[in-house]
Amino acid sequence: MNEGRTKRRHGRSETAQGYLLVATPFAYALLLLAVPLGAIVMFSFWTQDYLTLDKTLTLKNYREAFSEPLYGELLIRSLLVSGAVTLATVLTAFPIAYFVSFYVPPERKSMWIFLITIPFWTSYLIRVFLWKVILGYNGVFNTTLLGLGIIDEPLTFILYNVNAVVITLAHAYAPFAILPIFVALEKIDRTLLEAGRDLGESYVMTFFRVTLPLAMPGVVAAVLIVFIPTIGDYVTPRLVGGPDGLMIANMIQTQFLKLNNAPMGAALAVLAMAMVGAVALVFLALTRRFLRGQ
């Protein structure tokens, strides 16, 4: 009896301590995550006419989002651009991560990783502008190719369109893909690769049967880290995307700031979020077998 009571009292104080510990991050999450998110969701069910906000709940915004083809087009384009950016980023990041993990001597690895993060020392905006300089009509890329006599007139398909958006974003997000893949590759016990060779497989087949499956957690992480933020990017499409390179975030920005239609912007934001969430979940479900047991 007595013992039970002490235990219960002890247990209660432990629970109290637990709540106390969780309280700060919980308040943080509530104020900075749940409240803004809730506000956006609320807004999406309201309507606005110039300066008056009508707070009656309605699905009008969503109806408009689905009936107006421009919104759908922008959403699909955002999805495709993000997909292309993710593909390009991960495909270029993998060899870099592989090189650093497998061919750089251990004592130099941290220096290499440090060098990879150097582009982050400059502002994102400046990096996007620099890509304009590189890809422009009289830019570094075109002048070089012209000078080498490879092309006769400057290439125009590399700036102010979707291609430019993909190139710029792929560069901007490269470290975010390199790092998780590098970590996954570092975790692979090198004896496993010898075992693959010992059991009769060539270097190439060992890569596909051992290295790649074991690096998949890093690849999955890289895909999500690149895909989720790029779909909402609006700086890059605004600066290098031209009229055809605009994405859903640009429309959300326009709704909020130019058209003074926050509820419509909120509805589009909710739709974009739902789409990202759905794609990410489907992707995780498809790659689940690689994420088990490691």
Partner: protein, 369 residues
């Protein structure tokens, strides 16, 4: 194993194999023949080159010079994946992303078998190592001993000419290790494949091997059967590494009738046979004799013997239950020597400081330079 003509056939020939990294020699002048179907061990302290030699045979390291021949074929430039060897790694190297059955069947991809046949082979291999019904388990959910069995099955399923084992038992606890020693031995006899075991555990090597190569500093110090290695080590280093050996300063001369006469500190004069002098040098070079603890015995009071007797004082003793290990300082010798005695019925355990009469035989002396 003898072939049809009754001749022992080498499956692996190592011809003056050397490996150096810069000016560091990992292997020097390794020359040896490993016979078809034998259980061969590479024994030595860490850093002696035994693992490097095993990896050279497997094809993970190219020798800097010399030749490795497996089954009559020169292995120069032959990569690990096409050599007729398979390896059980020290860490077992079980693929964590595959099931037990997928691990065991990993090497079968290129075999010209139907899926059914492959599945049957996997089941058989698992049965052979005592893991029947484990096929569907995730590899990461296995215990150390089970991982080792998976590694064994995965290598043996490919029916290699030679199975290479890199300290496979060092990660297991004592009981498990002893059980696996017996099981490996049984498995080797059953499949008849040549096993090459790398180990730093001399007891393990003695228990399991047909022959052992003792290695120090990249060289083979002695290559022989466990019994010869134990009884007739060629150097103090080998004698010290395998089991316990006592060393006493000694001089030897060739007497009349080509008998060798030894004068060992604390023991006195003795005549020994020529086989007790490790080959290659003149008895005059002898500087010490070695004698194993169990070849001597302490006589209890009043006991008589026709063996040689030396006297000394018990400096220390360690009681092990079945055995007592005495540290006895012989008269005229500074360093005490170890003598092990079985605790037979009625035999008293001597106390520190008591006088001891030590019986020994000239036949158990080994001469060293």
């Amino acid at each position: 194993m003898k072939d049809t003509l009754g001749v022992t056939r080498p499956i692996i020939t190592l011809d003056n194999v050397e490996k150096y990294y810069g000016d560091y020699y990992a292997l020097r002048g390794i020359t040896a023949e490993i016979n078809q179907g034998e259980f061969f061990s590479l024994l030595g302290p860490s850093g002696c080159g035994k693992t490097t030699l095993l990896r050279t045979i497997a094809g993970f390291e190219e020798p800097s010079s010399g030749r490795v021949t497996i089954d009559g074929k020169d292995m120069a430039g032959v990569p690990a994946n096409v050599r007729p060897t398979n390896m059980v790694f020290q860490s077992y190297a079980i693929f964590p992303h595959l099931t037990v059955a997928q691990n065991v069947g990993f090497g079968l991809r290129r075999e010209p078998l139907t899926r059914k046949e492959k599945e049957r082979k996997v089941v058989e291999a698992l049965e052979m190592v005592g893991l029947k019904g484990f096929g569907a388990r995730a590899a990461h959910a296995l215990s150390g001993g089970q991982r080792q069995r998976v590694a064994l099955a995965r290598a043996l399923i490919l029916e290699p000419k030679v199975l290479l084992l890199d300290e496979p038992l060092s990660a297991l606890d004592k009981k498990m290790r002893e059980q696996m020693q017996m099981e490996l031995r049984r498995l080797q006899r059953q499949v008849g494949i040549t096993f090459i075991l790398v180990t730093h555990d001399q007891e393990e090597a003695l228990i399991m091997s047909d022959r052992i190569a003792v290695m120090f500093e990249g060289q083979i110090a002695q290559l022989d059967t466990p019994q010869v290695l134990y009884r007739r080590p060629v150097s103090r280093q080998v004698g010290e590494f395998i089991g316990v050996m006592n060393f006493l300063p000694a001089k030897a001369t060739v007497g009349p009738d080509t008998h060798i006469e030894v004068e060992a500190a604390g023991l006195g004069r003795a005549v020994i046979g020529a086989d007790q002098l490790p080959g290659g040098w003149h008895p005059g070079q002898t500087q010490s004799v070695g004698i194993r603890p169990e070849t001597m015995s302490i006589l209890f009071e009043g006991e008589t013997t026709d063996r040689r007797v030396a006297t000394g004082i018990v400096e220390d003793r360690a009681y092990y239950g079945d055995m007592t290990y005495y540290e006895v300082r012989l008269d005229g010798v500074e360093k005490p020597m170890t003598i092990s005695m079985k605790n037979l019925v009625g035999r008293p355990v001597l106390e520190r400081g008591s006088q001891a009469r030590v019986a020994w035989d000239a036949r158990s002396l080994v001469l060293f330079a």
